[in-house]
């Protein structure tokens, strides 16, 4: 059974990684199979999105299958499918856990995940969607997108670049062949760079390093999806039974990946059990069995009514706490908060965005970055376009295609090209033709709208060297400008560009407008 489980886990982890790598432009308009597929199966995202936004994306009905599966087989998703769980298993295997360590934490820490779950449900009931911060799939995609995968790319590229530069005899051809192969398969087309890569990576590393303290620390104690499936698992049909043959040797408790108390007859806790079958495999007496007709007594985690109420209450209280910021006072947001094209109006956007980072992973120019506090604490790690990092590619619609919750609408190309995400403004005290009587047309050249939003006025200027002459000075046509930011990205006045985009004028807002 263990081999079968590990194989299954491996297949799902590889599928996850495959889909993750696929979440990248191939140059055509439509993406094949984005990694949101895994989020479509995530019932925690289904429930919290529904509570917070009263809407559901089509794909999420797939997560009903996970609910059904759990009602039949228990937390089998955690034990056999979850790619994050598999990573925990792999990291946990790095250290030989002694019996005593395996027992560690069998106290009350496991309850924490239920409190996390209740907190998230409580806040989402009042439209605050924070589930993505702790949801294992969203967390995994975010950590991979923003931190782990960029780091992997950086390392690989650095290695091959070093070989290329050192040029050891005969090796370069070999290494370049390997490099080309990697570029065509697992490496990103361009090295991705993200703000907070170190921070988000550190959180990820701490979470997986906790496996060295206790196997599957995250899954046992923190994971809200695990808690949700655990609660469902209480009613599952498949149950574990221990026959009379058990001589209480305790081997099962040493291999147990959770706090399911397999060695305590009649107290096995189905909500904690990951259904990994390891206790069955190792039992020297062959006394353990999983079956559909088992009615053996089972323990339930005692959460305590007060703690339950406190957790839900904390989630509810978090709503006003996070929302009493000036950002919520009006829908005129900070000017640099440029959202991706197709993003819903800010309030609705935040009700749906689960900060999974898929839009950032797929963004073809690397322009979509995670926010820190630009959108308030509520909007942490939601997408913001930083034009100087990367502009919004005129004919690209990928962010809307991968968004799992509809926070960014999936738009047909004809619609997308008309969405304004902001407007460009020229800073005449820096712009070369204005401030320095130097010709430059870069913003106009790269402006992608069919009739260019940047046009020229032919103006007489004066320069110390050349005296009076005529020059083209750029102007922004606010009706045509869509705020894509390519002008800001390409402006030769580097550092503080002479043309910059702010969110003012974005289509999604009624009030963040400046002209009638």
């Amino acid at each position: 059974m263990r081999i079968l489980r590990k194989t299954t886990q491996g297949i799902f982890l590889l599928l996850f990684i495959f889909l993750f790598i696929q979440t990248e432009s191939t140059g055509v308009d439509e993406l094949g199979y984005p990694v949101k597929f895994f989020l479509d199966f995530d019932p925690l995202i289904l429930i919290t999105t529904f509570l917070a936004s009263h809407s559901l994306e089509k794909g999420f009905y797939l997560s009903l299958s996970v609910i059904l599966m759990t009602l039949i087989f228990g937390r089998i998703f955690c034990g056999w499918v979850c790619p994050f769980g598999t990573i925990h298993n792999m990291v946990g295997a790095l250290k030989r856990h002694k019996g005593a360590e395996a027992q560690r934490g069998a106290g009350s820490l496991f309850r924490v995940k239920y409190f996390v779950l209740l907190f998230l449900l409580g806040s989402s009931l009042f439209t605050l969607q924070l589930a993505g911060v702790m949801d294992p799939i969203a967390l995994l995609i975010r950590s991979f997108s923003i931190s782990i995968y960029p780091a992997f790319n950086y390392m690989t590229r650095a290695f091959f670049d070093t070989v290329y530069e050192m040029d050891p005899k005969g090796l370069v051809d070999l290494s370049e062949t390997a490099y080309t192969g990697l570029k065509g398969s697992v490496l990103a087309f361009k090295q991705p760079y993200f703000k907070q890569a170190g921070f988000i990576g550190l959180i990820f590393i701490i979470i997986i390093a906790l496996n060295l303290y206790q196997k599957r620390f995250w899954c046992r104690n923190l994971c809200p999806l695990g808690a949700l499936l655990g609660l469902l698992s209480k009613y599952s049909i498949l149950k574990r039974e221990v026959s009379e043959g058990c001589n209480e040797c305790g081997v099962c408790s040493k291999v147990c990946q959770s706090d399911a108390r397999p060695n305590e007859k009649g107290h096995w806790v189905s909500t904690e059990c990951l259904y990994c079958w390891d206790c069955d495999d190792v039992c020297p007496q062959k006394a353990v069995s999983f079956g559909f007709n088992n009615n053996a007594g089972q323990g339930t985690p005692d959460l305590g009514r007060r703690r339950v109420l406190t957790s839900i209450g904390a989630g509810v209280v978090a709503v006003p706490l996070l929302r009493t910021t000036p950002l919520s006072a009006s829908d005129i947001l900070s000017p640099e908060l440029i959202r991706p094209p197709g993003a819903l109006a800010e309030k609705k956007f935040l009700e749906r965005c689960i900060k999974c980072g898929e839009c950032m992973k797929v963004c073809i120019t690397n322009g979509l970055q995670p926010t820190f506090l630009e959108a308030g604490l509520e909007g942490i790690w939601s997408p913001i376009l930083i034009p100087q990092t990367g502009y919004c590619e005129y004919r690209c619609t990928l962010c809307g295609q991968v968004c799992p919750t509809g926070a960014i609408k999936k738009l047909p190309l004809e619609e997308k090209v008309n969405i304004k995400i902001g407007l460009a403004n020229i800073n005449k005290s820096r712009c070369l033709p204005y401030a320095h009587a130097t010709q430059c047309i870069v913003c106009e050249e790269v402006c992608p709208t069919p009739k260019k939003a940047i046009w020229f006025e032919y103006v007489k200027v004066n320069s110390r060297e050349l005296g009076e002459f005529h020059i083209q000075q750029p102007k922004v046509d606010l009706k045509l400008c869509i705020g894509c930011g390519i002008c800001e990205k390409m402006c030769p006045v580097v550092g503080t560009p002479a043309i910059t985009v702010t969110s003012t004028g974005e289509s999604r807002s009624d009030n963040n407008q400046m002209i009638l």
Binding site: C396, C440, I441, E444, E445, V446, F456, P492
Partner: protein
């Protein structure tokens, strides 16, 4: 042999040598300053016919050559918008080079929009690969500082494959441009520039001349199957696209750009970079001094 005889023979021989040099020079001049203009409904056919009329591909490409083809595929636009070189023209040239025995034909461009989208949406990556070319994305490690010794550009990183190649073929498209007025063959070399190349717009005409002196294309094919008459160089509105079903083949970039200007109803001398290039002796701007052959299919 007596002295008189010697003088006689040697003077004849000398004259012969001088004459043959003269003839060679004249031939060279005529080769430099001739253009073939082909029109017809099939971009691939007119490309092949124009090159055949110009002397045939084997006059330019030898067996075993490493050939670099530089189209303009800087923009994320489909062929119908005339923002990038026509893919069928590129593919036809790739096919001819391979037929002439080229051992490798590389096609690349340093794009302005996202490289992957430009390569795919322009149709060039697909067409060139199908024709047997190696279509590669720009590898930043291959840029090398080149001493251009120009008036505007002194040192600039250029893509080294352009210099490693045995033969270079430039295949630009003729289109509108905000400051150059028109972008054709000389401006297409911006696609091999590294660094923050946008700065060259500040002294664009002279920079283009400096650049053109550094790169010696074996052959230039100007794609005017569709030309972009406004909102260039990127376009995006079919109203700005004019179908001319024409390609122009030559070896003199200045002559080609000068002729190209006439497609937009202006003169070569209206373009600053063409004028500067002609003055600097890079090529012939005066169309009346060119041998222009027109064929139509």
């Amino acid at each position: 042999m007596d002295r008189r005889h010697f003088l006689k023979v040697s003077s004849i021989a000398g004259a012969g040598i001088i004459l043959s040099k003269e003839i060679a020079a004249m031939e060279k001049l005529s080769a430099r300053s001739s253009l073939v203009i082909a029109t017809g409904s099939s971009p691939a056919d007119i490309t092949r016919a124009a090159i055949e009329e110009f002397g045939g591909i084997s006059k330019f490409i030898s067996r075993g050559d490493y050939v670099v083809i530089k189209p303009n595929m800087a923009w994320d636009r489909e062929p119908k918008y005339a923002s990038n070189t026509n893919p069928e023209v590129v593919a036809a040239v790739v096919g001819l080079c391979l037929k002439a025995g080229a051992k490798k034909v590389d096609v690349f461009d340093r794009t302005v929009n996202s490289a992957k989208r430009c390569y795919v949406q322009s149709g060039i990556a697909g067409a060139a690969e199908a024709a047997g070319a190696t279509v590669s994305y720009i590898d930043d490690r291959k840029f090398q500082d080149i001493d251009l010794k120009g008036k505007a550009l002194q040192k600039w990183p250029l893509y080294s494959d352009i210099f490693k190649a045995d033969k270079v073929i430039n295949i630009p498209i003729a289109k509108d441009h905000g400051i150059a007025r028109l972008t054709m063959s000389m401006k297409n070399w911006m696609g091999v520039m590294g660094g923050r190349r946008d700065r060259i717009h500040q002294k664009l005409d002279q920079s283009l001349v400096d650049l053109a002196f550094a790169i010696k294309p074996t052959l230039t094919i100007l794609d005017a199957v569709r030309i972009l008459t406004d909102n260039g160089p990127q376009g995006g509105d079919l109203k700005d696209v004019k179908r001319l079903d024409t390609v122009i083949v030559g070896t003199d970039q200045v002559a080609i750009d000068s002729y190209g200007a006439t497609l937009f109803d202006i003169k070569g001398s209206d373009l600053g970079y063409v004028r500067l290039a002609a003055e600097a002796g890079l090529g012939e701007m005066d169309l009346s001094r060119l041998d222009i052959r027109k064929i139509s299919l």
